[in-house]
């Protein structure tokens, strides 16, 4: 008795849906193709990093992380991110304040120039700093005479990383500040707050999630940058080798052990990417929930 009833129910439902939905076969085919694409291009590469890292066993894994050269690379990567991310926060906040709260001629040109590093190849970015500070560069002789080193040293790595991460924080903050307008700040000022108080207690809290979002993306790029850093670093083991460069050096070692070591250092970077992704997803989810709540209140 139940079987025919259900059939009839389905029969009555189907024609009304046929117009705006694909046939179940087409739908399953599309989902299968999309999942296959994700499997080959997302899940397998990720799983492979960890599998290859463990290919020579746990102890090999531990040894390659605690190797002095790897530790030096980890320290340098943390140092570079520790310098570039705060500088980008300062720049991002200043740029967002100037662009979102004031009107001035040339604003759209300014925004385009801030985004420029995104469209420059990392290798070309590195080359620019070599042209400026390399031995044959504009300031090369002067730097050499004063015994200062930028290229093939840490300052060059910091500069190259600053260039490639330049837009990250600013481009998250500018739209966030623009969306808020200036009414709250005007009110705070009318009530007697000074400029800094207004910034700390009114503006900054209202864009904090956008700021954190930008910082997370900026940090991931700063720690993972390869092309620009590779050009300016000089690959001096233990001194100017960041984690991604260490991965390359180990990979080029050629033996099974050094390959596993390369994948071990790579797995640290892949874990960083996963953490970045989780935090990013959490922030987006939070933002969507806040937006919904605001809609409910205003509706």
């Amino acid at each position: 008795m139940r079987q025919p009833v259900r059939k009839e129910l389905n029969a009555s439902r189907r024609p009304s849906q046929r117009g705006t939905q694909e046939s179940p076969f087409a739908r399953r085919l599309l989902i299968a193709l999309a999942l296959a694409f994700c499997l080959v291009f997302l899940l397998l590469p990720l799983a492979n990093v960890f599998a290859q890292a463990l290919a020579q066993g746990w102890s090999c894994c531990r040894d390659s992380v605690t190797h002095p050269d790897s530790l030096a690379a980890i320290r340098l990567t943390l140092l570079v991110a520790g310098i570039t991310v705060p500088l980008n926060v300062v720049f991002g906040l200043a740029a967002a304040w100037a662009i979102a709260k004031f009107n001035f001629p040339g604003k759209s040109i300014l925004i385009t120039v801030i985004d420029l590093p995104f469209s420059v190849s990392p290798v070309v970015a590195g080359l620019m700093f070599v042209v400026l500070f390399g031995l044959q560069g504009f300031f090369g002789q002067w730097l050499d005479a004063h015994d200062m080193k930028i290229i093939f040293a840490v300052p060059g790595i910091v500069l190259a990383t600053l260039f490639v991460t330049f837009p990250f924080v600013a481009r998250e903050l500018i739209p966030a500040m623009q969306a808020l307008g200036t009414e709250h700040e005007q009110a705070a000022l009318t009530l007697g707050a000074n400029g800094w108080q207004t910034f700390w207690h009114v503006s900054l809290p209202s864009v904090k999630w956008a700021l954190i979002y930008g910082v997370i993306l900026c940090n991931a790029r700063a720690m993972g940058e390869f092309g620009a850093v590779s050009v300016v670093s000089g690959h001096i083991i233990g001194h100017t080798e960041t984690m991604p460069l260490r991965v390359q050096a180990l990979y080029e070692g050629g033996t099974a052990a050094s390959s596993a070591a390369a994948f071990t250092v790579a797995s640290l970077l892949a874990s960083l990417a996963l953490v970045t992704l989780v935090l990013k997803t959490f922030l987006e989810w939070r933002q969507a929930r806040e937006y919904e709540r605001a809609q409910q209140i205003s509706g």
Binding site: L30, L44, L46, N48, S119, G195, G227, P244, L245, A266
Partner: protein, 273 residues
């Protein structure tokens, strides 16, 4: 229009900081490169930028980037459609994972893809006997560039798909159009500007890509050598002018693409309204 009164302080300070950083980090290096380029004679520049090895490198860079962007346009559209329209287990995880290529350092991407498609890798052991050599070949360059550009089409298309009015599709269905005809005739045209924008973004990103390619291509001159790699080779030989000549070609191309992307985005925005 009355000039709006703005009592907010700090314009001078923040604008100063902005311009200071912008000049020091972006404009100053860019101007340095331009000056060095202008010091070269046009004939020298032309010769350095069009050696046989450079031409082979451009062909691979632009060809593989174009192929990867096409692959991303096709699969990205499909993925965005599936993520927005259908519900299936794991949808939210996949949705979050789409940004993985942005978060993963390119060196790691190249390393793991090269290993995956090598003769003894997880995929290579099945694909290489079939003649599909995905490591140390031009095909490998295409695979790495597809990975790197993957999020662009999906992320530009998703909001457009979400805001698409279902009424139009219903109208098409009422008028007797089949699902495929509705898609081709009604849905696809309104998605086109977003797909093209995503395509151009993925293409632009692929042109400059270096980190992932170093690992997977094998970097054989005339065969699997990309233009950014040739810049690095010339720099390592202290051939600054040769490196600059190639860099200028890449830069000009990126700026043309940037202008095209801006136009496309304006068109897409006009299309949405």
């Amino acid at each position: 229009m009355r000039k709006r009164f703005n009592a907010l302080p700090g314009f001078g300070l923040t604008m100063g900081i902005t311009l200071f950083f912008l000049s020091g980090i972006v404009l100053f290096p860019l101007v340095g490169l331009v000056i060095r380029t202008l010091e070269l004679s046009w004939t020298d520049l032309w010769h350095l930028a069009t050696t046989d090895r450079a031409l082979a490198a451009y062909r691979l860079t632009f060809g593989a980037s174009f192929a990867a962007a096409v692959a991303n346009a096709v699969f990205g559209t499909m993925l965005a459609w599936v993520l927005v329209r259908y519900d299936f287990p794991g949808r939210r995880v996949i949705d979050a994972m789409v940004d993985f290529p942005f978060a993963l350092p390119t060196a790691v991407a190249g390393l793991t893809l090269a290993n995956l498609f090598a003769a003894n890798g997880w995929l290579g052991r099945f694909l290489v006997p079939l003649g599909f050599k995905g490591a140390y070949t031009p095909l490998g360059v295409g695979i790495a560039l597809t990975f790197v550009g993957m999020p662009f089409v999906v992320r530009t298309l998703q909001p457009v798909l979400e805001n698409l009015e279902r009424e139009v599709e219903e109208a098409a269905a009422t008028l007797g159009a089949g699902r495929l005809r509705t898609f081709v005739g009604v849905i696809a045209p309104s998605l086109l500007p977003a797909i093209l924008t995503g395509f151009a973004l993925a293409f632009a990103r692929a042109i400059g890509e270096y980190g992932s390619i170093v690992f997977i291509s094998g970097n054989l001159p005339y065969k699997t050598e990309i233009a950014p790699y040739l810049i690095v080779m010339r720099l390592e030989a202290y051939d600054y002018t040769g490196a600059i000549a190639l860099a200028v070609v890449l830069l000009m191309f990126s700026f043309v693409l940037l202008a095209a992307i801006n136009l496309l985005e304006q068109w897409a925005a006009a299309f949405q309204n």
